[in-house]
């Protein structure tokens, strides 16, 4: 690129507008393309989770705050919303269902104000541990106060309340989907706008160098506290939408397992870019709804995938996309076709081998009632025969060998390209 322009630190502007248009269109048009009721369920959940993961990333990716207790704010927002809905059904007061998520948001913000005061006293690893403690505190309390939390069974509601407004009852799933989609759009836009405000930018500064942020006049604890409150607000909105969608909220909604899932998928999507958590939300729902049907070992696969991501691509899928986009921007992508093909080929072999082994073990362990055979990639495998196991082991071994060579080759080419790009930037010769 020799037109004298500086390399932009953030992705190209044309690309950004295109992404937004694509996002809006996708939200509005998806249920018309995928019309089955399963698809609608998936889309509705994705819409809610986009808000959750984006709000989580306000803390993690933007402010450097690793929380193990985010489900608390989503869940308490959900509980508040469901109680309000039940109160409206009983006629205590009137509130349109469309605005119930706002109640959730206020609840989320309120609890962030309450707990955040204590949790933001520390930062870094200690902060993470404290959020874990608070998360456990709330989760354990949920079984102690059945009046609010509904005990083991949770609290249920009916989202069809009163007479329809403009023909909308929120009975059919499609109506709920569009409610979620509109909230999702509003929240996403709001959270994006936040990144362009003084507080949003200082949150980045506090993430990068909290000490320096203090020395330019900012109380870093205050910055984190305010970010947490705003993130809690959006988390609560998502909780409210979830309450409307599922019509049930239980102590599971505030559990540590949930918090861990929010962390896992936001991280997988990518914490370094605004759209990363959106990818994470999509993977989240697809894993829980689709992957869990394909194999019993899906949680194990998820865990391994996460581990590999942290080790090899800590910026998540978003970073992988952007790194390749950057290479393409510098017009060096052509050299990567062959290395990618090599890694892909070796990866497929390794994947087949490892997943076969895991599936065989799972089948052997958990499904012995169903007999010893299972279908594996089109083949019929028998866990009682040695040849089956031997095949799986051999394929895995071959995969490991191939992967070692392929990855070394890839690293060499990739590393060379990165060094060239680095030099170009350093010398300002973009």
């Amino acid at each position: 690129m020799t037109d004298g322009q500086n390399l932009k630190f953030v992705p190209f502007d044309v690309g950004r507008s295109a992404l937004w248009i694509f996002f809006v269109v996708a939200l509005l048009v998806s249920p018309l393309i995928w019309t089955s009721s399963l698809s609608l369920t998936i889309l509705s959940q994705i819409g809610t989770l986009i808000i959750v993961c984006l709000s989580y990333n306000m803390m993690l990716g933007q402010s450097g705050m690793l929380s193990f207790g985010h489900a608390v704010y989503v869940g308490l927002g959900a509980f508040m919303s469901i109680h309000v809905m039940n109160a409206v059904t009983k006629g205590a007061f009137w509130m349109p269902i469309s605005l119930v998520p706002l109640i959730g948001g206020i609840a989320g913000a309120f609890f962030s104000v309450l707990f955040g005061y204590v949790t933001t006293k520390k930062s870094g690893t200690t902060f993470a541990m404290i959020t874990l403690g608070i998360g456990e505190l709330v989760a354990a309390s949920s079984l102690m106060l059945p009046e609010f939390f509904g005990g083991e069974a949770g609290i249920t509601t009916n989202r069809v309340i009163g007479s329809p407004v403009l023909g909308i009852t929120y009975g059919p799933q499609i109506q709920v989907y569009y409610l979620i989609a509109i909230w999702c759009l509003i929240c996403t836009a709001a959270m994006y706008a936040f990144t362009l405000t003084p507080l949003g930018r200082m949150a980045n500064a506090v993430r990068d160098n909290p000490e320096r942020a203090e020395f330019v006049g900012y109380n870093t604890q205050r910055v984190r506290y305010f970010v947490m409150i705003i993130a809690g607000f959006f988390a609560g909105i998502a909780g409210g939408l979830g309450a409307i969608n599922f019509e049930i909220v239980s102590s599971e909604n505030v559990s540590t397992v949930r918090s861990g899932a929010y962390l896992l998928f936001t991280f997988l999507g990518g914490v370094g870019f605004f759209f990363g958590p959106i990818i994470g939300a999509v993977i989240f729902v697809l894993s829980f709804v689709v992957l869990s049907e394909l194999t019993k070992a899906w949680l194990l696969y998820l865990g391994i995938f996460f581990l590999l991501m942290v080790m090899y691509a800590p910026g998540g899928i978003a970073s992988l996309i952007m790194m390749n986009a950057r290479v393409a921007q510098f017009k060096k992508f052509g050299r990567l076709w062959l290395p990618y093909a090599a890694v892909l080929g070796a990866g497929i072999v390794l994947f087949l081998g490892v997943t076969s082994l895991i599936e065989l073990v799972y089948h052997y362990q958990l499904e012995s009632a169903g007999g010893t055979t299972l279908k594996l990639y089109g083949f019929v495998a028998d866990t009682s025969t040695v040849s089956t196991w031997a095949t799986a082991v051999i394929v895995t071994a071959i995969g490991i060998v191939l992967m070692t060579f392929a990855s070394r080759y890839f690293k060499r080419i990739w590393g060379g390209i990165q060094t060239e790009i680095q030099l170009l930037i350093e010398r300002g010769l973009v």
């Binding site: 204590v118 505190l137 991280f267």
Partner: protein, 315 residues
């Protein structure tokens, strides 16, 4: 009186178990700055491996073999996974141990299933150690305390009397200097990580049959040891010791007490009925509230003494 003594002893034995776990965690944190989220998972692994070995061979071999296996697993993880993430910073380090805890949890279910396994106290240790009035103090609890104390003694001696221990102490605060002196600090890190995990595994061996051995055990004890570490003061072994005993005794006593604020009011002559707004909270007995006591302690410490009981001023 007997209730008090027995509960105290039970509380101390539980507290010592917590300390076995949190000491390994503190050591790893002090040296490497890594908070090992998977620490409780190694505890669980120790319990399961001990179970398996005790089924094949017996409890006593398990007592010695299982911690070694867990320690080796920990060392391998450090060498091939954690080390690689070190350059990304502390958050990715925590995340990689978080991912490991996920994987270990699933792995354990893969091999041993989702139901609790029947990991038994060996016949020789099953029974009463002594009796106070009508309450017996189990022999196994006494054994747990013995193992915990021996382990702590062993670690203390290792650190202060051996050369390896000296190197570790040095690397604890000045890894670069120790490396400049010619010691293989990455290997020391690996050993310390593996050692910490082995301690967790040992805790699992003796705790797994006293309490239940099931896939959820890592989660339940995991968050408590993090509370111990924060309450005690990040990186302070003495603080972890005090906090472990405190929480161990607190919880043991609380679980046995059936009083609530309601009974307190009743003693004072006031009766509060179910229609009172605060009734749901007031009727909670201490035993019902017991699970959240460690976390309440955490909140109190953070409000009144954020650096923990024995923590250093700057975190």
């Amino acid at each position: 009186m007997e209730f008090f003594l027995i509960s105290l002893l039970n509380g101390v034995s539980y507290g010592l178990l917590l300390f076995m776990l949190s000491s390994g965690l503190t050591l790893i944190f002090s040296m490497m700055g890594v908070l090992n989220f998977a620490h409780a998972s190694f505890y669980m692994l120790g319990a399961y491996i001990a179970y398996q070995i005790s089924v094949w061979v017996g409890f006593w071999p398990a007592l010695f073999i299982a911690p070694v296996v867990v320690g080796v697993a920990g060392a391998l993880f450090e060498r091939y996974s954690l080390r690689r993430v070190h350059k990304f910073g502390h958050v990715p380090e925590l995340l990689v141990t978080f991912g490991l805890s996920y994987v270990v949890g699933e792995f354990v279910q893969l091999i041993w299933g989702r139901a609790p396994v029947d990991y038994r106290i060996p016949a020789g240790l099953d029974g009463a150690l002594f009796t106070i009035y009508t309450t017996t103090f189990p022999a196994y609890r006494g054994f747990m305390m013995l193992v915990a104390v021996l382990m702590l003694l062993g670690v203390y001696l290792l650190f202060t009397r051996t050369r390896v221990g000296l190197v570790i102490q040095g690397a604890l605060s000045h890894p670069d200097m120790v490396e400049a002196l010619g010691h293989n600090v990455p290997r020391v890190f690996m050993m310390v990580f593996g050692g910490g995990c082995a301690l967790a595994g040992l805790a699992g061996v003796i705790g797994g049959n006293a309490f239940v051995t099931e896939p959820g055990m890592a989660l339940t004890v995991g968050s408590i040891i993090f509370v111990v570490v924060v309450v005690g003061g990040m990186g302070s072994l003495a603080g972890a010791f005090i906090a472990s005993l405190l929480i161990g005794i607190l919880q043991t006593f609380a679980v046995a007490l059936d009083y609530s604020l309601l009974t307190l009011f009743a003693k004072g002559g006031a009766t509060i009925g179910p229609d009172n707004a605060l009734y749901p909270v007031l009727k909670l007995t201490i035993s019902q509230v017991a699970p959240i006591l460690p976390y309440l302690l955490l909140v109190l410490i953070l409000i009144f003494r954020p650096r923990g009981l024995m923590g250093k001023r700057d975190d």
